[in-house]
Symmetry: C2
Subunit: 405 residues, 2 copies
Amino acid sequence: MLQGKVLIAQGGGPTAVINQSLAGAVLEARKHAAVKHIYGALHGINGIVNEDFLDLGLETRRNLDAVANTPCSALGSTRDKPDVKYCKEIFKVLQAHEIGTFLYIGGNDSSEALRILGEEAKKADYGLKGIHVPKTIDNDLMVNDHTPGYPSAARFVASAFAGVDKDNAALPGVYVGVVMGRHAGFLTAAAALARNHKDDGPHLVYLPERDFSMESFVSDVKSVYERLGRCVIAVSEGIHDQSGALIVTKMAKQVEKDAHGNVQLSGTGALADLLCAAIKESSGIKRVRGDTFGYLQRSFLGCVSEVDRKEAREVGEKAIQFAHQGHATGSVTIHRVGDYAAEFRLSPLDAVAGKTKVMDDAMISKSANDVTKTFIEYARPLIGGGLPEISRLDAANRVEKILGK
Amino acid sequence: MLQGKVLIAQGGGPTAVINQSLAGAVLEARKHAAVKHIYGALHGINGIVNEDFLDLGLETRRNLDAVANTPCSALGSTRDKPDVKYCKEIFKVLQAHEIGTFLYIGGNDSSEALRILGEEAKKADYGLKGIHVPKTIDNDLMVNDHTPGYPSAARFVASAFAGVDKDNAALPGVYVGVVMGRHAGFLTAAAALARNHKDDGPHLVYLPERDFSMESFVSDVKSVYERLGRCVIAVSEGIHDQSGALIVTKMAKQVEKDAHGNVQLSGTGALADLLCAAIKESSGIKRVRGDTFGYLQRSFLGCVSEVDRKEAREVGEKAIQFAHQGHATGSVTIHRVGDYAAEFRLSPLDAVAGKTKVMDDAMISKSANDVTKTFIEYARPLIGGGLPEISRLDAANRVEKILGK
């Protein structure tokens, strides 16, 4: 039975629907009379150590609903990764505030933080219920069919490529769009959902699941350009060569790393500029443009998949339900049980924590520069409906030339 | 009376609603029994010279409506600017196909092309009706209160900043978002429409209407960062120093220019990276991120202001009506006649052609790093409704510290 104080925190990179999970957990916890308080820690586990708590039980229903619709962690986030010392600090605070249940909404790093915390709690004989609530636009959590945040980010990427492809058709040239995703290509692959007609872009898709060769890349681009007079390309920020070295580091003067040792990939246009320069230099094509989609992918207001919105709400509710059922630890996971239907389970934390799921081989074309139908069928139900019906003018209605030009 | 053949073309940078104008013109022209054919030229005036025409009269109503909802010039666009020789080539084709009315949907460059074409037509004693249909995300056409394409692009920029501001609040640091707009700051200024609460970002807005000083910029950023612990900045791609030199050229190795002599500003992340580096170097702030919004601003699928959608349709319809009323030349212009109501007039081509409107002084703060209420009141009705209600958690509900950390 759920009782005492519940604490909720949000970690890692924000998503468009991460506050749906927060609202879902808060509203579900409020149903239980034995729950004394529902606290929110500001900026993840950092807020626990600093005792920076908000009493979420005092939030009005209307404001909670508005917060749920607001992109990016309303409690604030953190990239902190706790070690044993950090965990001891956390315990002190949890004990002092008599917190019995802790929900951490986050990705791989956050679930790993929860796992370490759980181990330390056991050693310290502290009875903590710790439930991980999934979110990540990268879609790279093990066990899960997909993770909340991904469908909305995928909708953004698909909508972006649907647009830039038409832009590129109007003013032909080469266009490179760099998409987030360090190790997993799911988000970059979503660019392919923009295609309707056979020759729609993106014409090439490069994923971190495959080694990247600048030579093959330029040759692929030239080949598409010769065929169509234009070329739209989706590239993952995490592309690397055979040795595993990131392509972006090949030009970066100064490589910035975060607390997890990850190289900074977002917040810079370096990779797009590097790839555009390579195309210009070796192909002689003049109009070569590159965009880096950046933070808009995970935060853009109003670009939300309805499937994602509902599921993100549900994983928050489910986390509270699992805790109420007596589970001491675990990660809420999403499983596809129909076309399309999903159900939620509680999986062991160590099946998810600190691990990275990448795209199945069946989702990637043999040529390593596109996705397969398997991926399209996997991703299409996730991004939701309601996008405008779009089309092109009928090219068959050509007017006969008089001057024969 | 409208009769014979009508030709429509689209020029310059695409917008999210440019095909609404196309559909509006085609459907309005179809009402007139004396109109024999409605042609569309592929890739602007380039398609006239090459006799690349589609018969738009054969389009189904359903497909036209889908095309209208599709971002970016369905007929294709061009950056070509005709000289006398080019115009003579155009005449040959217009005469051969007996085209009496030409609608050119475009911005400053397109209206200037139409003006030159009109002069040459007069010299050649060719009875051509030439009507300019406005579009530009830059909002920089003279006479107009605003131009079709701007409201949707402004909605995109506002939605983007609403999101990245929450992202920046969750993971604090400095964020620089570079927005399109060579000479006019209207689109960059739209970032300010993202603000709800007093301390919401963007906290600083830099426009091409004011000289940019790197020193003041860094000092402004430091000051906001000290006050709020974070800083979100909107910067126009067209910012320049006192001498008029573009800031982006200060680092660019190779500057690319188009047929109009314009330096390439979009399709590269150079400016954002340059500004981020300047902030890091001189402030010591560690988390500094930059995005360049790029082509998504004018093409993103599904981000359309309903005001823009309707007005873009209307300017196309009005162009045909003005031609039918017997006007030989002119530019359809939008005038604000209420709060909010607009009407459409036909203005002399040379009042619009080749000129650039910039933001009123009253719209720019005296500090030169923000917009005023005048701008907000001007722009707010344009971007349309239907954005999600968003909010933040109530910071007053702080839980009392026990350990006093």
